[in-house]
């Protein structure tokens, strides 16, 4: 379950101000909340309740991040960040788990692998921002965000250590939706 490489990977523009950096961070966290919620709903619809609960929990963690950014910046909960093209260098914002990685029979282990990749991308994004920011306040804020994402990475790794890796035939369905005999 790897992230699609289409859409970039090239150099991203460094934020010019604290507002711009935190606007990007807010967008990233909001999109992560929206996606995890979407994935939880998706898995509930398909009666994969363990994975749904896990995604719901991840959405909750990301929402805490959203609220923290809003509080730190003094922004209203409904503040709208103008969408900028080419900011991420990836098809979606870095912390978003791709829809294409989903499977209706996936296990919590798969969900955590996807979450781990997302958190690692977010950490790498802020590390890059911290490395390229010309302004010291922006650099410090980016570094702080990177540290928080690193904590998320560590948290997901802890969870992963407690979850069994599924057998290789995990996707075999005795009553598959595409059965046509």
């Amino acid at each position: 379950m790897t992230r699609a490489r289409f859409g970039g990977g090239g150099a991203r523009p460094a934020p010019r101000s604290l507002n711009e950096l935190m606007g990007q961070a807010l967008t990233m966290e909001r999109e992560a909340v929206a996606r995890y919620t979407e994935l939880a709903d998706m898995m509930e619809t398909h009666n994969n309740l363990d994975v749904a609960a896990l995604f719901r929990k991840m959405a909750g963690y990301e929402q805490l991040h959203v609220e923290q950014i809003l509080a730190d910046m003094g922004w209203a909960a409904d503040v709208v960040v103008p969408r900028q093209s080419g900011v991420w260098g990836t098809p979606e914002s870095p912390e978003v788990v791709p829809i294409e990685d989903m499977h209706y029979l996936m296990h919590p282990w798969h969900a955590l692998q996807a979450a781990l990749s997302a958190e690692q991308r977010a950490e790498a994004f802020f590390a890059e921002m911290a490395g390229t920011a010309a302004d010291e306040a922006v650099r410090q804020a980016a570094e702080e965000m990177r540290r928080e994402e690193a904590e998320h990475v560590a948290l997901v790794l802890e969870w992963l250590a407690k979850v069994p890796q599924p057998d290789s035939d995990w996707s075999v369905d005795p009553d598959p939706p595409r059965h046509m005999d």
Partner: protein, 277 residues
């Protein structure tokens, strides 16, 4: 970021309804829905000024998942309904959505004539080269050698080429997008809606259930290497010779969109009199 405090602007969430999609996990249509809502937010038109019209098929469920006006019509007739709506209510932004079976087979005739009429509406086709809702039959865009239980050895039929047909029939904007690139797709959809006349966006949207190999599309799609053109001949050459995975605006024409005819200049009585024998 001067307008960070402008809370009057719309977000994608404003265009998503409370209904949860029931597509298969991994389906590309989820991200197309996300791209559509992002595009509408970007355009800043409130949901009550937008209508999303569809036919039948997995992707045609989209209207219910938005807060816009919606019309889930009959199979293949999405463009007919959308055309009627736009003609009657030209002030609305009309987005017609559907899949390759709905749009190119059952609705193929409507597709060509919608291009020809050039009303100012936008047609988004989520193309997965298969009839997913009815369990995996070959569609017009299915490759001739796609081997499956319902068409062993493949159909042997040449694939329909929707972009060429759209261009030849008179569409004023032709683009190809990929569901795995949601932000790029959102930009293309916004551009299509802004462009006057009939705008057609073919969105490659994998069916992970009946065409699981389409998960590999993310490794072969690529952005168009040349700038968009308003020259139909150049666009035709480009579309006819590309590999089917070339993303971006492939044609942006300058043809004036359909305009309503002026109000009748004669009264009903005068018209009846003209027909009197």
């Amino acid at each position: 970021m001067n307008d960070m405090t402008d809370a009057t602007r719309l977000s994608a969430a404003d265009f998503k309804s409370d209904y949860k999609p029931i597509w298969c996990p991994g389906c590309g249509d989820y991200t197309v829905l996300g791209s559509l809502t992002k595009a509408l937010a970007q355009l800043g038109r409130p949901p009550h000024e937008v209508a999303v019209v569809s036919g039948i098929g997995c992707s045609s469920r989209i209207p219910a998942y938005t807060t816009c006006y919606g019309f889930h019509g009959v199979h293949g007739r999405a463009l007919a309904a959308g055309t009627g709506l736009k003609a009657a209510r030209p002030e609305l932004t009309v987005v017609v959505t559907g899949g390759d079976g709905d749009g190119y087979s059952i609705g193929g005739n409507h597709f060509m004539h919608a291009c020809r009429r050039n009303l100012d509406l936008t047609y988004l086709v989520m193309d997965n080269h298969v009839y997913g809702m009815t369990k995996g039959q070959a569609s017009p865009t299915t490759e001739p050698d796609w081997d499956n239980k319902l068409s062993p050895g493949g159909t042997g039929l040449r694939s329909f080429h929707p972009l060429v047909i759209a261009l030849a029939a008179g569409a004023n904007f032709v683009a190809r997008a990929f569901s795995g690139d949601p932000n790029g797709t959102a930009d293309l959809v916004a551009q299509a809606i802004r462009h006057p006349g009939f705008s057609f966006v073919e969105i490659l949207s994998p069916c992970v259930t009946f065409r699981p190999e389409q998960r590999g599309w993310k490794d072969v799609v690529h952005r168009a290497a040349v700038p968009e053109t308003d020259d139909p001949a150049r666009a035709a050459r480009r579309i006819m010779t590309d590999d089917g995975f070339n993303l971006g605006v492939l044609y942006a024409g300058k043809r004036a969109p359909y305009a309503r005819t002026p109000a009748a200049s004669a009264s009903l009585a005068q018209i009846e009199q003209a027909f009197a024998v």
